[in-house]
Amino acid sequence: MLLGTIIYAVINSVILILMSIGFNLTFGISGISNFAYGSLYIFAAFTTYMLLQLVGLPYPVAALVSIALTAVIGALMYRFILMRVRGQVLSEVIATFGIGLAILEFFRYLGFVGVEYALPVFIDDSFMIGEVYVDAQRIIIVAASVVLVGLLWVFVHYTSLGLAFRGIAQDERTALTFGMDSDWIATLSVSLGAALAAVAATVIIPLGTISVSQGYDVLINALAVSIIGGLGSTGGVIVASLLVGFAQRFTDTYIGSHWTMIVSLAAILIVLVIKPSGIYGKQKELEERI
């Protein structure tokens, strides 16, 4: 029982990481908080579904295409909308929120409801780990996210573009003086975030079915994790995800499933009271400056 809970807690945490890492990365790089994140997740899911069912592509291809598409959407979103309100937090928030709302509810309106919308699992099998069966899909998810995080780390630390990202993230003005095109970087950051949302969707959705309302849940999870971990800090995301993930599973097992949400809320409030900027909060200076 305990072991099983731990195993699923790990999986749960990993899912959280996948769900929130893109959102956090975008913010970390360009300070844009993309409230359309959840809807991009759903967008990717439905695109994959359609490519799979209507066009009849094999899953990997469909997944890759939809990831690419989502990334493009993200980029366009920045170029045509966010760029015009760049720097005005209010407008950025409202604009992205509006976009997300429009996308999600449009899917609902188009009648993308019902259980027929689902993605197949990669490998239809499950293995005995310790005392519980774990299906291949969940193992794949864990593997995928480990690889993903690893790649991101390498990318940010060793590629020139990644360094540019860090440069912008640390001090935009200076970075500009070194001739970095901040708009270009920001575009990339948003579309990278979108792509990550898509990746998450393509690996996580096969666990269940696609439903529009998930879009909101994903956004909420991403926000919760980011707030707890500290906006813009990937380390924070990971720690926070583990924290919340374990808390949720264990409350589920030992207290009651419907308390899980309360646990996350409590976590948020506690963190906000103790350390408003989150565990690894980079916003600390703000605190001090005010």
Partner: protein, 423 residues
């Protein structure tokens, strides 16, 4: 300021216009307030239009001397979506009534509290409702208490009480067959599901000497059921009784299969109701037993030919099979109940109409339909006696085999791998 006055004038005008064209309406208006953003609502509306088309094709409804057509006026009250306030739904219904002047409403709210709140509106405007989604018995209670105040509210679909009866039937059937008596209950944390679960425990499991090895309730939107399944496994549950109508519950099925829990999954999981489920869950649902609330809702039985015909007709009209395990059949029936009632009453006068609807006794898609004093369609175990639900099991070929009630059963329940009969 100009603009503001303008806006005022404008929306006064629209209001006026609406009501005018409502008056001008010659055909009999059937109002359909529902949540088109959800399967039950989407298909329900389609079915009302289908039935109306059939009737109109045959020349319409005979009101006294003249023949009149049916006309469908739908409105999306969105109340099935968790985020939507009840007032929003109520305003939708009120708007539909005031502007489209419907003779009767079909389908109605999803949420129990919305239906309960709507009852007063219906009384106020004297518009009968044949509800086919919300399942709370509370409405009948109100009808019984104040019959002439709430006589306008009917329900042709299964209510929570009958759902319990059916599940009880299924469980005792399982118990008879295999001697199982350890159950693990998992239900969605909403009124009707909770009521059903508690009802099962109180009215059956305790009496019939079952042991409830665990009961877990999940908030709408929950997406990981591992811990409960682990508990069920370690507690040696032989039967898992799920009660869910949220799309995410599909995950539960997949996880149940993936985690190879050696227990019979028998209950209600909305995503399992329709034929589409086989593809949706890529063939991972063999052995699952599901209770479709009404015969004809996405499942037919050769013993009731109307149901077969109904599904065929739907498939033909929509080009894809029906998926909703709750709502379609009673919705279809309701239209005909209405037609017959109108023709018997020979007028559209609400009270007369209501009186006639109450006298209904027709056998159709879901069996024989009569209303009890609570204006609830009577459900039973034999389609010749009353309306029936249909409990079926997914076999490994991806077919749905009716296993209960016996009157329409095609086969016996078969056990999933790793689960031995206790007999």
């Amino acid at each position: 300021m100009r603009r503001r006055l303008w806006a005022v004038g404008l929306f006064l005008a629209t209001g006026l216009m609406f009501s005018l064209c409502a008056y001008a309406a010659e055909p009999i208006v059937i109002g359909v307030p529902t949540s088109t953003g959800f399967v039950e609502g989407k298909e329900g509306l389609a079915i009302v239009e289908m039935a109306v088309a059939e009737i109109n094709a045959k020349g319409g409804v005979k009101v006294g001397a003249e023949k009149r057509m049916f006309k469908v006026e739908a409105i999306d009250i969105r109340d099935a979506a968790p985020g939507v306030p009840v007032p929003e739904a109520l305003m939708g219904i009120e708007k539909l009534i005031l502007e489209k002047k419907p003779t009767v409403l079909l389908i109605g709210p999803f949420r129990s509290e919305a239906l309960l709140a709507a009852m007063d509106i219906l009384t106020k405007y004297k518009v009968p409702l044949l509800g086919t989604i919300a399942m709370t018995p509370a409405t009948e209670g109100k009808v019984k208490q104040e019959p002439d105040k709430y006589k306008y509210v009917f329900r042709t679909c299964l209510n929570a009480i009958y759902l319990v009866k059916n599940l009880v039937g299924t469980m005792s059937h399982i118990n008879k067959e295999f001697g199982f008596n350890k159950v693990y209950i998992m239900h969605q944390d909403v009124a009707w599901a909770r009521a059903t679960a508690d009802g099962m425990v109180k009215n059956y499991f305790q009496k019939a000497g079952w042991t409830v090895v665990g009961q877990e309730s999940y908030p709408t939107g929950a997406a990981d059921f591992s811990s409960a399944l682990m508990k069920a496994r370690s507690a040696g549950a032989q039967v898992i009784l799920p009660i869910f109508d949220m799309p995410q519950s599909g995950t539960l099925v997949k996880q149940w299969k993936a985690m190879k829990v050696p227990a019979l999954m028998a209950g209600f999981i909305s995503p399992l109701a329709g034929p589409g489920a086989w593809k949706t869950f890529d063939k991972k649902i063999g052995g699952a037993i599901n209770c479709n609330f009404e015969l004809g809702s996405a499942i037919a039985s050769p013993k009731v030919p109307q149901s077969v015909a109904f599904l065929k007709a739907y498939q033909k009209k929509m080009g894809k099979p029906m998926e909703a395990g709750h709502g379609p059949a009673p919705t279809y029936e309701s239209v005909y109940i209405l037609k017959e009632a109108i023709e018997r009453a020979g007028s559209l006068e609400p009270d007369a109409l209501v009186a006639e609807i109450k006298k209904t006794d027709r056998s159709g898609v879901m069996g024989r339909i009569k209303f009890d004093e609570g204006n609830q369609a009577v459900f039973g175990m034999d389609p010749k006696e009353a309306a029936v639900a249909s409990v079926f099991q997914w076999n490994d070929k991806g077919e749905r085999v009716t296993v209960f009630p016996e009157s329409i059963a095609d086969a016996k329940i078969m056990l999933p791998a790793g689960l031995k009969s206790a007999k």
